[in-house]
């Protein structure tokens, strides 16, 4: 125990960065004003699918203030590549999936509403906007395809000539033959068809980019989830120049949630324009850019079946998904519905065999990319809905069917049928803990009371497990200067999670360093050499573990130096209360004294996870549906999570609350809607796209039941995505439960997301009509 322990692991500590953020002193990219900067505007396609028969910028180029207009012709002449797809998937027949070229600016054809067509640079934004309107573009409309479920149909318009039936890939995982045998042998089967709705990540800060070109080097300041990922994409994939030619900087980032880990066309275009003009060029996305020109998330249609025995024990799982990729494949896009998610389809259940087939399909829609959970929310939704259906079919309670199928503690470590290695957890116990906390016992009385007020009360629950801490290694470097100040350099990127504070707590715990003396350096490719960024709940599990290894390295070096000064063997020194103590003497040195004597000391640590970590838990919700209107009110929300180990309880709770709001948003409100005929995006502003607001949720009751991770040096499992994963099936479970309680509603087993009040009201009318007819 040392004097700094009150700042150590497990303590709530307020964030240093809050002081500047709360005073309006944040440093977001859009806040920058570089001398002589010009301003850019993106002209986007108003058509979902069309040939560009004319693209004439001559008149627009002569408009006041216009400095430059880029189209695909200029980009081609410069020799830049388009945006890459990094995920090359094999088809189930052994051939490779199809990856189309994705130009930075549309080339002869547009394939979704919002696709960038021209990049206009002017002295002012209004001048750039006016010039955009003066660009002469003639579109010859083509029939479009936007509906996920229809994309593979023979009659659906084709988007890429080399992708018959709009199929990008046809991928498979699991034991097909064994699963078929199990289904053939089983007495009972059930099948569900589920839609996982397309949503927009919607960070409050839209993407922005400000770039310059000086002395043969590009500098880009942009909100990212990891500057090295963006640098490597720009240098290697797009500009084909050495990485050292690019300086990428991120400062405060106004929310990420997945998309900002990956490059957008504008980040390359500001650099191209800056090199041509010899001036900085700034582009700031608006909300409509974020809906039309950013990337979307989710968007699957899944048919899933289970075979089960007479005791409601699941014997086999078969899943077939159509995953909408959008018009092009984004860098990580094909990974989400396949390798990133399907491994989690068996959930926390002991399912002997499983097979999954995923058809990636092209449509005339914005490309799909990682969004909080990226594949794992989709998988959890499938298995949790299946388990509820098993309860509906067998007449057993939803908790009872789970109890019969959950992996038991004595089965751990457990290898799932889809190749995951669960190391730790108590899955039935965490469900029981959540049910107890939620006062499940009092539900029946509350339901009666609700009905007196014309409201149907429903109880919903779901367990979840996710795989975290992927995407390779992370390296941490700590440097203590002679004055005792500490710099931590790491390649993760804070987007609001509070990394600076969490990492400082790990430093305080292990080395006893005062958090006030720690400066985090991130988001700067000049100073931080490598990094894989923030995403997939990896920063604290992997970055934190790397930091812990760096701490040990630092301590080892400190011992050597201290031993030199004190005249003893390094191994004989004890480390107590931030001091290195010589045995059998009163001679001791603080780390600061050692660093001063050494004129600065450093430590380096790299952690490469051997496997994923598996946070898990259980959500329980009670909601009310007003019979007259279909309006839903969430009354109680309980969640118990196993995150392995907690660094900072307040930051952790913040991740859970925010994730739950996003998951509830997906379940009740959010949907990127396209008009099926015209392919127009109908939800391109916050007036059309329903975001969770302050009245959506009650105070969430969050508690922990941590069981340390066996494969992570700090015992941490990761927490960033958990809320968004557990919430959607929980909410749907509750709405179905509420509707089943309506006279005549017993047959209701499903409602698609988003379960809007209109959709619920419609179902209530159908139930009433059916009852009247009977």
């Amino acid at each position: 125990m040392n004097s700094i322990t009150k700042f150590g692991i497990g303590q709530t500590m307020t964030r240093q960065e809050d002081i500047r953020l709360l005073q309006g002193q944040g440093r977001y990219s859009a806040d920058l004003h570089w001398p002589h900067q010009a301003v850019a505007f993106v002209l986007r396609s108003p058509q979902s699918h069309a040939e560009i028969t004319r693209l004439d910028t001559a008149a627009a180029s002569k408009m006041p203030g216009v400095l430059l207009i880029l189209t695909h012709r200029e980009i081609d002449a410069e020799g830049l590549n388009g945006l890459p797809c990094w995920t090359k998937l094999p088809n189930r027949d052994g051939t490779l999936g199809y990856i189309p070229e994705r130009p930075l600016l549309a080339k002869n054809r547009v394939r979704f509403v919002g696709e960038p067509v021209a990049f206009i640079v002017a002295e002012s934004l209004n001048q750039a906007r006016s010039a955009a309107e003066a660009i002469d573009v003639v579109y010859k409309s083509l029939p479009s395809a936007t509906v996920t479920a229809d994309a593979l149909n023979q009659t659906t318009p084709q988007i890429w000539p080399d992708a018959p039936q709009n199929q990008a890939f046809d991928w498979q995982q699991g034991a097909e033959e064994a699963t078929n045998r199990a289904f053939a042998a089983a007495k009972n089967h059930l099948t569900v068809t589920l839609v996982n709705n397309r949503v927009a990540s919607s960070p409050m800060e839209p993407r922005a980019a400000i770039g310059k070109y000086e002395d043969g080097k590009f500098t880009l300041h942009s909100p990212t989830q990891g500057v090295h990922v963006i640098r490597d994409c720009l240098s290697r994939d797009i500009f084909k120049l050495p990485a050292d030619d690019f300086i990428i900087l991120s400062d405060d980032v106004g929310g990420g949630f997945g998309p900002k880990l990956f490059p957008g066309p504008e980040q390359a275009l500001v650099l191209s324009a800056a090199r041509r003009l010899g001036r900085p060029v700034k582009w700031v996305g608006e909300r409509s850019d974020n809906f039309m020109g950013e990337v979307h998330g989710r968007d699957n249609v899944t048919t899933a079946s289970i075979a089960f025995d007479d005791q409601a024990r699941i014997l086999a799982l078969r899943v077939e998904t159509i995953a909408n990729m959008g018009a092009y494949l984004s860098p990580f896009g094909p990974m989400i519905a396949t390798k990133a998610g399907t491994g989690m389809l068996t959930g926390l259940y002991d399912i002997p065999t499983a097979v999954v087939r995923v058809h990636g399909v092209f449509t005339n829609t914005v490309p799909v990319e990682a969004y909080r959970g990226a594949g794992r929310p989709e998988a959890t939704f499938v298995i949790e809905r299946l388990v509820d259906h098993l309860a509906y079919r067998t007449g057993l309670d939803r908790t009872e069917v789970r109890r019969r199928n959950l992996i038991r503690p004595e089965q751990l470590p457990y290898k799932t049928a889809l190749g995951q290695h669960y190391d730790s957890g108590e899955f039935a116990a965490i469900m029981d803990a959540a049910l107890a906390r939620s006062d499940q016992a009092g539900f029946a009385a509350r339901r009666v009371e609700s009905l007196k007020r014309g409201r149907l009360r429903g109880l919903g629950l779901a367990t979840y497990v996710e795989a975290c801490a992927g995407n390779g290694a992370e390296t941490a470097v700590i440097e203590m200067a002679a004055d005792g100040s500490v710099t931590l350099l790491i390649g993760t990127q804070n987007n609001g999670q509070g990394h600076e504070t969490a990492y400082a707590q790990i430093l305080a715990e292990t080395l006893g360093i005062d958090p006030q003396r720690v400066t985090l350096i991130q988001g700067d490719t000049r100073r931080v050499k490598t990094g894989n960024g923030t995403g997939g709940s990896r920063s604290v599990p992997i970055g934190g573990a790397a930091l812990q290894i760096a701490n040990q390295d630092f301590l080892a070096k400190s011992r050597v130096k201290a031993a030199e000064i004190l005249g003893c063997a390094a191994d004989d020194l004890r480390f107590e209360d931030s001091m290195l103590v010589k045995p059998d003497s009163n001679q001791k040195l603080s780390l600061v004294e050692v660093a001063a004597a050494a004129n600065g000391l450093s430590g380096t640590g790299t952690f490469t996870p051997s496997q994923a970590t598996y946070p898990n838990g259980c959500h329980v919700v009670e909601l009310e549906i007003e019979v007259a209107t279909g309006a839903t009110t969430i009354d109680r929300y309980t969640v118990v999570d196993d995150f392995g180990r907690t660094i900072n309880p307040a930051l952790l709770a913040g991740q859970v609350y925010g994730g739950i709001a996003q998951g509830v948003g997906q379940a009740l409100l959010e949907e990127c809607r396209y008009d099926a005929k015209s392919g127009q995006l109908l939800t391109a502003s916050f007036m059309d796209y329903a975001m969770p607001r302050g009245t959506l949720l009650p105070m969430i009751d969050f508690s922990l039941r941590n069981i340390p991770c066996q494969t992570n040096p700090l015992g941490i499992k990761g927490a960033g995505e958990a809320g968004a994963i557990g919430a959607p099936p929980t909410i749907i479970s509750a709405i179905v439960d509420a509707l089943q309680s309506l006279d005549g509603g017993a047959e209701i087993v499903h409602i698609d997301m988003p379960a809007t009040s209109q959709k619920i009201w419609q179902m209530i009318q159908e139930i009433h009509a059916k009852r009247r007819a009977a």
Partner: protein, 170 residues
């Protein structure tokens, strides 16, 4: 163009804005008060809220030229009038509660949330949870799920903004 006189964060300033200049453009682009943020372009998200004569107004939906004689407070000037800060803290009462209760994550919506809360507490010193939630309908946050924002505002109202924060049991 017409010269107008405003008071921004208690300092008088003369401006000569073009007719189509929005207040948010004046604040961010001319005066470099970049704590006021633009999050939606459709007056939905509230990241651009400022106080005009004590009332919270979305600065993306008002022309600067219409504001002759107005007193404007942005997030940069709020602590000076929300003067319940502790000791030498640069933060005002509501800002302090937001830090204590982890009422912000990425910080982008935060200026608007704090400005909005300051008007609420000026008119309703002891709001209920339901009143706060309803009041914040015009402010969107994507990170926090609102829970700690509500907790922070309740704490600011009761003067308990120096606690350890949160409603969780962790």
């Amino acid at each position: 163009m017409t010269v107008i006189r405003l008071t921004i964060n208690q300092k008088p300033i003369d401006l000569d804005p073009p007719g189509n200049r929005l207040l948010i453009e004046t604040l961010r682009d001319e005066l470099h008060l970049t704590g006021t943020h633009s999050g939606c372009d459709t007056s939905q998200c509230g990241a651009c809220l400022v106080l005009i004569d004590g009332q919270s107004v979305k600065s993306c939906s008002v022309f600067t030229g219409e504001l002759d004689g107005a007193a404007i407070t942005t997030i940069e000037g709020l602590a000076a009038i929300d003067n319940f800060g502790e000791g030498d803290s640069p933060l005002g009462r509501i800002q302090t509660a937001f830090q204590q209760y982890h009422g912000l994550q990425c910080g982008f919506c935060t200026s608007g949330m704090v400005i909005s809360a300051s008007e609420l507490l000026a008119t309703t010193p002891h709001p209920t949870e339901a009143e706060i939630r309803h009041w914040l309908e015009g402010n969107i946050c994507r990170c926090t799920g609102y829970q700690n924002i509500i907790a922070a505002i309740m704490a600011a109202a009761t003067g308990s903004g120096t606690g350890e924060g949160g409603e969780s049991h962790v």
